[in-house]
Structure formats: C-alpha cells, structure tokens
C-alpha cells in the first residue's frame, strides 16, 4: 500500500500565492450561503472561518490538527460561497489545498480510512480497467438477482454499519458502458464542429445512456464527436479529496488522450467533473511539458448545455415527454463552480410541451457533494430532506439535473414519486421523437 503523502514534500497552503490567502476581507457576505454555517451558526463552520484557519496555517500560527482536518471535511465543497463572495476569493483552490494539507500531515489517518482511500483514489479511480471490471461484477451482482438473495440472507449484518446502510443506495450499474454505446468517431454529413467527449467514471458506469444522449444531441447540431476509449476518472475526485498529485496524473492522462488542436471543444455532461476540468492550468502549473496544453484545454472544456447554447442549438420540433411539469435542480459545481445557470434552462425551455417550474432554493446543495453523503451522512441527509421538500412544492414529476452525484442523491430522496433526468437526455429524446414523427408521416 503506497502512502501517497510521501510523494509530495509540499506545503500546500504555505506555498499558495499569498494574494489568494489574503483575498478574503472577512465581510461575512458568504455566511448566509453556507449550508454548514446555517446549520450550526459556528464561525469555524463558515467559509470565512475556514479561510481564517487556512490563513493561520499559511502564516505558521496554527498547526495542521485533527480538528482542522475534520473541519475541512465538514465543508461540502459546494462553492455556494464563491457565488456569494463579492471580493472574488478563489475558494476552490484554497479548499483543495487545505484538504491536501490535511492528507499530507495525515491528521485524520486511521487504518480503515487509509485502506478506503488507497482502494478508491489509488486503485479504482486511477485505473480505468479496474473500475470497469468492478462495475461489471457489480452489474452481474445486481442483474442476476444475487443482490436480493444477499439482502434476504442477512449476510449484510457482517458488514460494517456505515457500509450496510449505504448498500441499498448503491447505484444501478448499466449493462453497457459508454464505449459499447458510442463509437470512437461519430460524424454527420453537414459537419460544423468537431468536439471531444468526456465519458467520466461514475457517469460511464451508471449513466452511460446520458453519454449516448449527449452524443445524439451533439450530432443533431452538426458536431462530429470523438470519444477516446477507456478514459477513466478525470481526477476531480482526487483533487476534492486532498490528493493533488494523483489528480495531476489523471489530468496528464486525459491531455494525452485528446487531440486538442483538432477539436473545437471538449464536452462534459457531469458538473462535478466540469468544474474541475476547467482548471488544469492551475493543477499543472509547475509542469513545463503540459502547461501550454493545459491552458488550451481549460479554454476548450465546456459543459454540454454551455456548448449547445454557444453554438445556438436547434430547437426540437417534437416533445420529449407528454407535456410534463419539470423542475430544475442546479448542481453546485455547475452554478457555483462554473457560473452556468441560464443554459440548462434554455435547453429545457426549448423542448416543446415541457412546463418548467422553478425550484425554490434551486442552487442549494442536495447533500451529495462528491462523496459527502458517505463521509458525513447526517448533514447530507438534512440537505437531501430540504431539497425533497422544495421539489414536492413544485408538483413536478420530472427533475432535471446535470450531475451524476445530484442525480443519485435526489432520486434516492424522492423515491418513485418523480424521475430525475439529465437535461440533455430530454433534448436527445425530443430529437429522436422528431425522426419517429417524420417516419410515421412518410409511411
């Protein structure tokens, strides 16, 4: 088992450009946006309180302690504070470096935690083949009915409590992963653009059909789509969990897989990934071999709705559903992380027959927050309940959201009462219905 901390003799917070640390002028405007501060009303649980702690560490006034570590992991990383901050504090960078500092000092290290970090960050989410292999096994387990047998048998009682509680919410793995559904190059006769597609990791296993829908929506708008094989995790999971070294490894791997010069854009449909993918410049700033390409990459990465609106996507003539009421939950890493709020709504508004009802507190975190629902189940459940309450008020039977974590969290929350769907899936479906309608007419 590698101790990843030995790879990086860095002082993360101390080595940051001091202007980033100094940018917070502690006016307090972030406080009402922060889910954890609103819960406890305790300053250390607020963005400005956390930044004060980070600054104290950068200044050498505070040691990296277990308490500090726990605080950094109590933060959701939802970035609502970034939207609220008039002073333009770069909280994502502070946050990632603070978590890296925590891991570097090992203040939270316990054998069990070390094992899970090793298994997930260093193995599963660093090795695309392994993730797919495990995904395949999980699919067999779920599809064969073994899963039901195991639950009935009571074997689960032998599993630690926190995992046992999570088992029923394990996402359903797709029969076909992205590479089986999407060809490496898919083109259209009237080609206007050439774009790359990021398939993601969770997205690839659990929502490969969303990737397929993304390709269909792009093709319908004159985009040739290049989907490199076996892409794996983009490294956002590593960066958000304090392993910037492995995140950089993942970033280099992606940069190697895409022929950037010949692409107009690189498309992602997962908000959490997109918010990370747009900042490779920072992640690879000390790497002369990759720095230039990272800059070009950052310019070209686009969320799918952002790209569709940018190229003035075609409004479908058919509807995706039978006149349904829909509401839209904004993934934190789309609205706060990337400042994208209008475009997904534009996509939804473009679909005939859909009635978009605005969701109260649509930009509030649903509690998924990467793996927060696993690490901090109590706080995550509170946020999930608030979200479900707001959804119920809309009376919507469809909930659109553009991030796999939110998708699972909200679907778990609403159960069978409503269906969660990616906006681009609805658009793709509407385009498909057009063809069917035309076919019927010609027949």
């Amino acid at each position: 088992m590698n101790d990843s901390t030995t790879l990086t003799p860095l002082k993360y917070l101390g080595d940051l450009d001091y202007s980033i640390v100094q940018q917070c002028m502690h006016c307090g405007m972030c406080l009402p946006s922060c889910p954890t501060y609103l819960e406890t009303k305790r300053e250390r649980n607020s963005p400005r309180g956390r930044i004060a702690l980070m600054r104290s560490i950068a200044d050498g006034e505070l040691e990296v302690t277990k308490e500090f570590g726990e605080e950094m992991y109590y933060c959701l990383g939802c970035l609502a504070c970034t939207t609220a901050c008039p002073a333009g504090v770069n909280y994502p960078e502070l946050f990632e470096n603070a978590r890296a500092e925590v891991e570097h000092h090992g203040v939270l290290a316990r054998p069990e935690r070390r094992f899970w970090r090793w298994l997930t960050l260093e193995q599963l989410f660093s090795k695309p083949w392994m993730l797919r292999a495990v995904g395949r096994l999980l699919w067999i387990y779920q599809a064969s009915g073994l899963c039901g047998l195991v639950r009935k048998s009571g074997v689960m009682r032998l599993v630690p409590k926190n995992l046992r509680e999570l088992e029923p919410s394990t996402p359903t793995i797709q029969r076909h992963f992205s590479d089986a559904l999407i060809q490496e190059t898919e083109t259209v006769p009237e080609k206007r653009y050439r774009v790359g597609l990021l398939t993601g990791c969770v997205q690839d296993l659990v929502f490969s059909h969303v990737n397929r829908d993304t390709v269909d929506a792009l093709l319908a708008n004159g985009c040739e789509v290049i989907t490199p094989r076996s892409q794996g995790c983009c490294g956002s999971l590593h960066a958000h969990n304090g392993d910037l070294t492995l995140a950089a490894v993942r970033a280099r791997s992606l940069l190697d897989q895409f022929d950037l010069e010949n692409l107009d854009a690189v498309i992602t449909n997962a908000a959490g990934c997109g918010s990370h993918l747009k900042h490779f410049t920072n992640l690879l700033k000390g790497d002369p071999e990759y720095a230039d390409r990272a800059a070009e990459w950052d310019r070209k990465v686009k969320d799918v709705s952002e790209w569709l609106v940018e190229i003035d996507f075609r409004k479908p003539e058919s509807t995706s559903e039978e006149c349904e009421t829909i509401t839209y939950h904004e993934a934190c890493h789309l609205c706060h992380g990337q400042g994208i709020t209008r475009q997904p709504r534009d996509v939804l508004h473009a679909i005939p027959g859909l009635d978009l009802v605005e969701l109260e507190n649509s930009t509030h975190c649903c509690g998924s927050a990467g793996i927060y629902n696993i690490t901090q189940p109590e706080q995550a459940t509170k946020l999930q309940e608030e979200k479900v309450g707001c959804i119920a008020k809309t009376g919507a039977s469809l909930i659109a959201t553009a991030n796999p974590g939110c998708h699972l969290q909200i679907q778990n929350g609403v159960g069978d009462s409503a269906e969660v769907v990616h906006p681009v899936s609805l658009l793709a479906k509407a385009y498909r219905n057009e063809k069917e309608t035309t076919n019927v007419e010609t027949n």
């Binding site: 202007s19 100094q22 940018q23 002028m25 502690h26 006016c27 307090g28 405007m29 406080l31 009402p32 009303k41 305790r42 300053e43 250390r44 607020s46 400005r48 309180g49 956390r50 004060a52 702690l53 104290s56 006034e61 505070l62 302690t65 308490e67 500090f68 605080e71 901050c85 008039p86 002073a87 333009g88």
Partner: protein, 471 residues
C-alpha cells in the same frame, strides 16, 4: 495578568461557563477561537480566548454576573460584520456571541411593532413584517447576515436613510443585561413615553460598552405601494454630487440616492453583472417609493434634475426584479472593491449635504497628493460618503501614506461641520480620531456615562475611547 486567565477545558472558569450555556455552546480550542478574532474591518485582528454562544437572557445574565465577580471583560458580537472593529476580542476576555438567540417573538400588527431576539438577521425582520403589509426600512449593506442586536448597538444606517432614517428611529424598547448582570427593560410600545430619561437611546449606538441587548422592540411602518428606480450616469463626480444637492434643495426626499464612482462601478459590475455603466465617471442610483402617483412625479422630477446637471444618461429600472438587483448589487460595493488590492480600508465620513461637492473633490485631491488608489461610493442623499482606500497592509511605506490621507480627510470633514463616522461606529478604527471631533466637554461626558453604568469597565473595554485618561 488578565491575558493569562485560564478558560481551557477542565479549568474553573470553563466549568462555570459550561454550567451556564452547556459545553456545545462554549468554545476554547484554537480552531474555534481564530475565526472569532475579527469582524468586517480590514487589518484588525486579535485572537479570542473564549467564546460563548448563549441561547437565553438568563444565560447572558449568568455570564455577566460571573464576569462581574471575576473581573472578566465581555465583548458582545452578532454575525461579526461590523466595520469599525467594535467586536474585536480583548485579551483574557469572553466573546459573547448572540447569533443563537435568533427568534422573532412577536409581530403586533395592531400596534405596528415587532419584538425580536438580538441574533435575528436584519432582513428576517422585514421578511416577517411583509405578510402584514408592514415594512422595516433600515437596510445596512450587510442586511442578509447582520443581526438586529448589532444594528441597534451600532445604530446602523443603510441605503434608505434619506427618507426613512436609521435604526434609532425604529427602536421603541429593549431588554438589556446590565454590567451587574441585572436585567432591565427600557422603553415601551407607546408612541409617547417620557417616563424618566430615554434610557434606550443611551444604549442605541453604544457599541456594546454599556449593556448587552437581549431583546429589541421595533417600530414598523406601512409598506410603500409603489417604487421607481433610476440610474443616472455622469462625466464627473462633481456633476453627480450637484445633482443630489439639487434634488434635496427642491425638497424631494426619495428613499435612496446612492453614488458610485467609476472604480466602484467596475468592481460591482464585475461581480454582480447587472448592467451598470462602467465607462461613466460616476453613477447615481435613485429610488423613490410611496403612492403610485407620487413616485411617478418624483421620478420624473429627479430625471430632469439629473439632466439639468449634465447627466450623460438616465435609465429606468426595467421592472421590480431589476430594481432589486440594482440595489443588491450596490450593497456589495465595499466587498467587491477588495478585487483590486489586498487591503480595503473603508471610511465613513459624513458632511452636511450642502458640502457634498467639496468633500468629494477633497478626497480626489488627497488621493493625488499621497499617490493612493481611492474609490468612493456612498449614500449621497445623507451626505454620507465611503472613500475606500485600496492598499496593502503589508506595505509599510504605503500604509503611512494611508494614515496621512485619513488624517487629512477627517480634518476636512470636521472643518465642514461633519462627522468622522456616519453609520459604522467608532470601535477601534476611529477611536484615535474621536477627540478631534468632540473637542469640548462632550468627550469627557462619554467617560462619565461609561463610569456610571459600567464602573468596572467590563463591557467592550477600549472601544470608542479609553476609560482612563492617558497620562
């Protein structure tokens, strides 16, 4: 030595305090103390030694009694958004944070009042009044997070001061815990009440130096039916200032006459993206509210006056939502200015409105004289200007020039019959300059009042002024 007082877990004081508030509301670890070491004021920090967050008046009273018996200083705070360093901790003291006392206790539509605990957020007061068709007008820039207790203790102003006045104009009564730990109710729901000194007025704006406010009774007014918002742009700050002076001369009292210079506009637009003109030298945001016919007349008259005074353009807000966005954007001005330089020193000088042009021009001269980057915005209708020095606290030489500039601006303000602080309070930041303004017996009077109410000097010591004469 007071600074060495032991509050650590297991100590005698820790045990006493945890009996009063419970361990979950008592903080003594560095990770908890560091974030209470500052408020919204630039370059002022002092680590707290102990923080308590009581939930009842009885607990506050108990803490005060303990502090009185032990001689422990108490610094009261709410959300810590103050702009004069008033809630910076003192050595060996207790920081008393009232944000957990956050209940609205009563809305009384028959008497047009609201009774709230001190930790209620300012905006929540108005939100509670709204369904009854009532209105709580004071709207400090930080209203989404500032607490009503802090507003009363600092007599906060806001964007609507011109027509609606400041916090003081709405306080009808309060419950305070006195330095002895005794509880006193001051004021009443009566519109007229002259029974004894108006003691509540003594505590409004006392910055936590006289007592701890544990309940606030506020006056509400009917909610205005209509509202018009205009945005006028100018080639020069003087034209903008003159426009404001002329509006008031013509006896038009809109609720808001806000001014932003080019630099401030640029920063606010960069953050809020509400379509502010970023090329104009100055803009004035005007808002009038009241009955439909009156607001239309006033809006037309103000537009005309702006044009007479050389406005490049006068735009109307598209709709109510746009008007709210413009006002909200304006409230972020101070924080948004932090985008330019690391340290943002915000001033709060106020002059009689007829001297607006003079003070604005003077600030420009001072910026040139000391080679400093100064942005100016403020509540022009109130004569309240916020020259904001954009600097870097780590640059000693530049900070010296900042000191000189501030000194010059304060002297000029006083010469014009103004005040060194219109709405932020004295705290620590303006304390050295207060004797320049209060030159007669009034300065000594502050000490006499403090000595009479808080003879031990326990409440927020060293803020506003030093209790003992320095030899």
């Amino acid at each position: 030595m007071a600074a060495e007082r032991d509050f650590s877990k297991g100590s005698r004081l820790y045990e006493s305090l945890s009996q009063l508030v419970g361990e979950e509301d008592l903080f003594t670890e560095p990770e908890d103390l560091i974030p209470y070491g500052f408020d919204g004021t630039a370059a002022l920090r002092h680590k707290a030694t102990c923080v308590v967050s009581p939930r009842t008046t009885e607990a506050v009273s108990g803490i005060m009694k303990l502090a009185s018996a032990e001689g422990i200083p108490i610094v009261t705070r709410g959300s810590g958004t103050g702009l004069s360093g008033g809630s910076i901790p003192v050595d060996g003291g207790i920081v008393l944070c009232l944000v957990q006392m956050d209940q609205i206790l009563e809305v009384d539509p028959a008497n047009l009042t609201i009774l709230a605990e001190p930790g209620v957020i300012t905006k929540a007061i108005d939100d509670a009044a709204h369904p009854h068709g009532l209105f709580y007008p004071p709207d400090p820039g930080s209203m989404k997070i500032s607490t009503i207790g802090g507003n009363v203790a600092n007599n906060s102003g806001g964007l609507r001061g011109l027509k609606y006045g400041v916090t003081r104009d709405y306080v009808m009564g309060m419950e305070v815990v006195l330095p002895s730990g005794e509880i006193a109710w001051l004021g009443s729901k009566c519109v007229k009440d002259v029974a004894g000194y108006s003691m509540k007025d003594m505590f409004i704006g006392s910055e936590g130096t006289l007592g701890i406010i544990t309940k606030v009774l506020l006056k509400l007014v009917p909610r205005p039916k209509a509202r018009r918002t205009l945005l006028a742009s100018f080639d020069s700050m003087e034209d903008a200032a003159r426009t404001v002076s002329h509006i008031i001369e013509r006896q038009i009292i809109p609720c808001t006459l806000e001014f932003l210079d080019k630099k401030t506009c640029g920063c606010v637009e960069d953050y809020a993206k509400v379509g502010l003109p970023t090329e104009a030298a100055a803009i004035v945001l005007m808002e009038t509210d009241g009955p439909e016919s009156v607001v239309n007349d006033e809006a037309d008259a103000m537009a005309l006056i702006a044009e007479e005074n050389g406005a490049i353009s006068v735009e109307k807000a598209k709709d109510d939502a746009h008007a709210v966005r413009l006002a909200s954007a304006r409230r972020t001005a101070f924080s948004a200015l932090a985008r330019i330089r690391p340290t943002t020193i915000l001033e709060d000088v106020t002059v009689p409105r007829s001297h607006l042009v003079e003070i604005v021009s003077f600030v420009e001269e001072v910026a040139a004289k000391y080679d400093l980057d100064i942005a100016t915005f403020g509540h022009f209708g109130d004569g309240n200007v916020h020259p904001t020095i954009l600097t870097d606290e780590t640059n000693k030489e530049e900070m010296e020039r900042v000191e000189h500039a501030l000194s010059d601006i304060f002297d000029k303000t006083i010469e014009l019959g103004g005040t060194i602080t219109g709405e932020h309070g004295v705290g620590l930041a303006k304390k050295p300059f207060l004797p320049r303004q209060l030159i007669d017996a009034s300065y000594q009077l502050l000490r006499q009042v403090k000595g009479a109410i808080d003879p031990q000097g326990l409440l927020n010591p060293g803020k506003i002024f030093d209790q003992a004469e320095k030899s």
